[in-house]
Symmetry: C2
Subunit: 419 residues, 2 copies
Amino acid sequence: MLSARDLAASIRAGRTTPRAVMEEAAAAIAACEGEVNAFAALDLDMALRASMLKGLDALPLAGLPVGIKDILDTRDFITAYGSPIYEEHRPITDAPVVGMTRRAGGIVVGKTVTTEFAFLEPSATRNPRRLSHTPGGSSAGSAAAVAAGMLPLAIGTQTGGSVIRPAAFCGVTGYKPTFRLLPTLGMKTFSWHLDTIGLFAARVRDAAFAVAALTGRDLDIGDEMAEAPRVAVVRTARADNASTDSHAALETAARALEAKGARVFDLDLPEALEEADAAHPVIQDFEAALSFMDEYVFARDQLSPLLAAHLEAARTITPEAYDNARRTAKRGRHVLGDLFRDVDAILTFSAPGPAPEGHATTGSAMFNRLWTLMGCPALNVAGLTAANGMPVGVQVVGRFGRDRQALAVANLLEAAITS
Amino acid sequence: MLSARDLAASIRAGRTTPRAVMEEAAAAIAACEGEVNAFAALDLDMALRASMLKGLDALPLAGLPVGIKDILDTRDFITAYGSPIYEEHRPITDAPVVGMTRRAGGIVVGKTVTTEFAFLEPSATRNPRRLSHTPGGSSAGSAAAVAAGMLPLAIGTQTGGSVIRPAAFCGVTGYKPTFRLLPTLGMKTFSWHLDTIGLFAARVRDAAFAVAALTGRDLDIGDEMAEAPRVAVVRTARADNASTDSHAALETAARALEAKGARVFDLDLPEALEEADAAHPVIQDFEAALSFMDEYVFARDQLSPLLAAHLEAARTITPEAYDNARRTAKRGRHVLGDLFRDVDAILTFSAPGPAPEGHATTGSAMFNRLWTLMGCPALNVAGLTAANGMPVGVQVVGRFGRDRQALAVANLLEAAITS
């Protein structure tokens, strides 16, 4: 995989150039894309020309190639949101996160595949670790492009588990920052209280480098690691759905952290947070019914049967049920805030198991959706493997707004399991 | 002015028809629009055809004509956001609030004028109460169309004071519901933590009827009035900026409420809320710099000098300043929540005075922006007049999520000052 942070440093040190990096990416894309199908749109000629502009090395991203999930508006590319309804849609403006990428000196090489409207219908993307397995969803192309070494950085989104899950399945770092740290404008909305922009990169430090470059925030932590963090291992009421591989990975991660000086302890998820977990689909679906009202009314025959049926059911959720779910979520946030007084990070499953074989499903978000609803930072840390040799991720969840701390714990965990 | 609630009742009772109401609106538009300029786009033929569809009377809005502020996406009309950059922009989908209008049986007759991107550059709309005066902004066309009797209902938006201020200046009911009660999707975003959809109607009961029709919530309070509400009169640290007319209107409103049995008392705004007031522009502008990044980079020469200069300054706001402002806002919400334990509604100024003469400015949002930031429901109650005969509004602010209570207090106040 390509390290964004190392590549940018090499460019700045004069050891390589944006053009050479872009050519390397183009060669990897030429070699892999035919099998992986990570891209919904691609313009390498434009990217190669852009990589020759003067002054890129003075910008944070130093001319690195970046992929943008095709659920985000781009002025230079068709933005189809994974749906035939939008197959000719060319937005007038870039989504702000795309503008932030350009501002930071990133070069958008193309749009990465999203499942239909970032929902559950599987996409054409294949898992580069094993093509017979799903890459996960909905940010399938972003995860696969980074995993295949085609791109050092890709932007994705998560409403349930669409960053952490594909990152886990493809064995890359997935980083869902604190809610709204990256603006969601210009993203095709599924649920406005849940939709979150996230990043895919090779390692934790690369994701930290990228979010710092995009936002100008002090988050580029490099090799900095949390010192003796208090880490709560949380298995949740859904622990029985986690496979032997996932339980083993969580145990391995916990022991590795301990060996690095972390204070690791088991924690039962408070009941208020189990209730918040159950509130997630109510909030998501009530809002989705409104978000997709136009498509549902005017273009239902162009929706997948899976999404059409889901939206039909979603329309029956009452405002009262929605309000109750929102109150439950608010209580959950208070309880989680209290919990984080005694905890620096939560360690939990990234997914029920490694990537499922076949392409009938993109896997489950059951271990992600609570953290999306809580809005707190979450990372998939890669490095462990299942019995079948496929990647198994573990998830680090941090306190709302404390992304630097979450990244530092993830860095420690990554070092612990890969050393 | 046209009462939405009464017209819908008349249609349902068979005393009139959607077609007859539409023709009445069309006649008023033909008579007034030449002077008022409330519409950015209009299709009365389409609206008249739509008003002949069967079954409209069974729907909540019963075929009533509705205007949509041109900051909201519509599939049937050019949506220019008040900017030449978008003068040919025809969105693919309706904003959900437009879809909700259609679902409720409202007929969209046209787009009402917005100032450029709902900011401060004055529009071509004139105040129907006196054409020499500003209608306010940014929802200029929505307020003017209702004030002139051209429409019973119009949808607007508020980021600072863009619903309450023009409602006050034009002498109509303006209702800014609790933040996100109406979804902001498909609105050209200025600031995602502030942008709020609001409604314009003749009287408080009409606004209540409309929000109930759009959302299916139990908010159609009719003549229901709050019983002996505890009303805090809040003048804020900016009281010196309120004119003699505004102070007199506030005093009149307070005494009228008292005469109706309300328990009215003065309240100094807690310091935490004065600080939150000052945080509003930091949040608004930091987000605006990101929201308009594309237009600023690619089409700066097509922005008004006012907005271009504002965005240029906004780019200097640091993430730290923004985070601090967000924390200040959060503290403010807690303090306001506590305050509302002993208060049913706040009574305050809608604007510093009646509509300023001339068209060089749309007036000030200084008495609105705090309530936008707090996300609580707010209404302009019309009925009082300035020494020069122009309307002076007073503002009722309610507790977050308690829109029914806010509407019931506004109903009481309206009855008190108009009886």
